[in-house]
């Protein structure tokens, strides 16, 4: 670069060549379709010709938020999604942290467990959904037999089929599968803490419990934030597991309906419901803004948090 004189510097075509393929794919397949989806939410189908759409401003949103028949479905899907997220936050991430805290001591046995504990995370939602559907099925009766071992057989219920327990059951199945992600991220953060930092505390006679909460945990706060953000984005974008477990109708009686299944049902139509692409786009836009708010909050928080460099 130095060899060229400034006014005779040729246009850097190689930069264009290097960047063009990625940019073209990214813009055509991600950026434009996303903007297209967002803008479609401002249109509705032409009443006579379904192939044409007319600009109707925010009417889809008004319909989504306030329609007598439709808005309760939207609000309950949103509520279920919040519950889904809260269960992940209070069950998945603390257990992930606990397992990581145990694993980070190192050693051969722990390396073995690290490999084993991550296995559910590599399986597909479809597989996980059906596996648990079978296990919880009263026809097979496997769960009842297991509960009987602890003389708790009387507690058995077809949890996936009952309105009051279906959402919690689905969330816990998702937790079962996804626990490997927070575990491995916390694990990575914990083993990066240099031993000298902990040595001083040990010499002072602090017990492991105290060392964990007073020294290690504050140091891995950035990872706690990252895991929270990832859980949030993943949960408000979830679909596969509920679809596999409960179908697109997210039964029983829509009790497991979340944003992803509501979008799918609205966009493609389902049984008595006609497909409505523009309303589907409206739901996707709501998902987009929810996730965007989560990401922005995370980024602002991240800027204010001290990251320790060891």
């Amino acid at each position: 670069m130095v060899a060229y004189r400034k006014n005779r510097k040729p246009f850097p075509w190689h930069i264009v060549v290097f960047l063009a393929p990625a940019l073209v794919v990214y813009i055509i397949v991600m950026v434009i379709p996303l903007l297209d989806s967002l803008s479609l939410s401002l249109f509705t189908e032409h009443p006579e010709n379904a192939r044409e759409t007319i600009f109707t401003g925010l009417s889809n949103y008004r319909y989504l938020f306030t329609d007598y028949y439709y808005s309760p479905i939207f609000w309950s899907a949103l509520k279920h999604n919040v519950i889904f997220f809260v269960i992940h936050m209070v069950v998945q991430n603390p257990i992930g942290l606990l397992l990581a805290a145990i694993l980070c001591k190192g050693g051969k046995i722990r390396t073995f467990f690290r490999t084993v504990l991550f296995i559910p995370t590599i399986l597909s939602f479809v597989l996980v959904g059906f596996v648990w559907k079978l296990i919880l099925s009263p026809v097979w009766g496997v769960s009842k037999t297991i509960l009987n071992l602890f003389s708790l057989g009387g507690l058995f219920q077809p949890w996936l089929g009952l309105e009051e327990s279906a959402l919690i059951t689905c969330s816990l199945i998702s937790v079962w599968q996804y626990i490997g992600t927070p575990m491995i991220l916390f694990y990575t953060a914990l083993i990066a803490i240099p031993d000298e930092l902990l040595e001083a505390a040990r010499v002072d006679g602090a017990n492991p419990w105290l060392i964990f909460w007073k020294i290690k945990f504050p140091l891995i706060i950035p990872t706690v934030g990252l895991v929270t953000m990832m859980t949030f984005v993943g949960n408000f974008n979830a679909f596969d597991l509920i679809y596999t477990l409960q179908g697109a109708l997210a039964g029983p009686n829509f009790s497991t309906d979340i944003m992803g299944t509501l979008f799918y049902r609205t966009f493609f139509g389902q049984q008595q419901q006609m497909p409505n692409p523009t309303l589907g786009a409206t739901i996707a836009t709501m998902q987009f803004f929810i996730i965007l708010i989560g990401v922005i909050v995370y980024m602002i928080w991240q800027k204010r948090t001290t990251v320790y460099e060891y």
Partner: protein, 292 residues
């Protein structure tokens, strides 16, 4: 980890300390064993019952198949009714091509973003890093319209294109951070020797091999397991992937327990083997900071 304080303490109260120490060692291990059982038990149950006859599935679900209960009827039923061969071909084809394209296109862009200073670097970095956090699924409506316009619905090409776009932001983020660490003297030396910029790109690639391996594994698993895009873009029978194919098969034949368990085994085993082979590299690559 026996330092002087610990020794002192253990001398002061040897018995109670030993008990506490024993608990301190055992309880964590017990927790690990407990959660491992929870994690593995469902998988064990599927694998074991896939090789049993129907009666034994219901009577002795927890047992390992024995000479009397062993049966491959489930696998025979699956092969008669579903075309797992096609599904496997589709999944492997889509995953491998998407992965290769992602690595090629992604490393090229990363090279430019890491090595050159030009107007717009910051904006491009920002645009790509937003793509890491905003899931591509939110663009589903637009992507489906795009594929319909291009007459690409129900083709594997549609899936490949979407998977490349989906994997690019993360790939670029990781690879460019690796490329920034390549010593500049090396690149200068190559330029002085008259190497073209394309040649330099080729020289750098082998240097960041660990990052490429990690990206390979971490892009592959979500693509292989994905249900959303096959369901929306390519739901036809000829283009079904393993995940979609087994989803449809399982939904349809839920009452044929042998076939259900066998098909689950068939879609689970390849990914399990892949994981067991690469688990060390996978976890090493995360912990070494390749994916931070």
């Amino acid at each position: 980890m026996v330092d002087s304080t610990v020794l002192q303490k253990s001398m002061q109260s040897p018995f109670s300390y030993r008990i506490r120490n024993w608990f301190g060692e055992m309880i964590p291990i017990l927790i690990l064993i407990f959660w491992s059982v929870i994690a593995l038990f469902p998988i064990y149950l599927i694998l074991m019952n896939a090789f049993k006859e129907r009666k034994a599935i219901f009577k002795l679900p927890f047992n390992v198949p024995s000479a009397e209960t062993f049966s491959l009827i489930g696998f025979q039923n699956v092969n008669q009714r579903a075309h797992f061969g096609t599904y496997f071909f589709n999944s492997i084809f889509v995953t491998v091509i998407a992965l290769l394209l992602t690595l090629l296109i992604g490393t090229m862009a990363s090279f430019a973003l890491a090595q050159y200073k030009f107007k717009g670097v910051t904006i491009l970095n920002l645009v790509f890093s937003i793509g890491i956090m905003i899931p591509i699924r939110l663009a589903t409506v637009g992507i489906l319209r795009l594929m319909v316009n291009l007459h690409l619905t129900n083709t594997l090409a549609a899936l490949i294109i979407v998977y490349v776009a989906q994997s690019l932001p993360m790939t670029i983020f990781i690879v460019s951070s690796f490329m920034r660490q390549v010593p500049q003297e090396l690149i200068h030396a190559a330029r002085v020797d008259g190497a073209s910029e394309y040649r330099i790109y080729g020289l750098i690639l082998p240097l960041i091999r660990p990052a490429l391996g990690a990206i390979g594994i971490f892009t592959m698993i979500p693509i292989w397991n994905d249900l959303w895009w096959p369901l929306i873009l390519a739901p036809s029978f000829e283009t079904a992937t393993v995940t979609l194919g087994s989803q449809q098969f399982l939904g349809q034949y839920m009452t044929d327990w042998n076939a259900v368990l066998a098909s689950m085994t068939m879609s689970m085993v390849p990914i399990l083997i892949f994981y067991l082979i690469f688990s060390k590299q996978m976890i090493k690559s995360i912990t070494s900071g390749a994916l931070k």
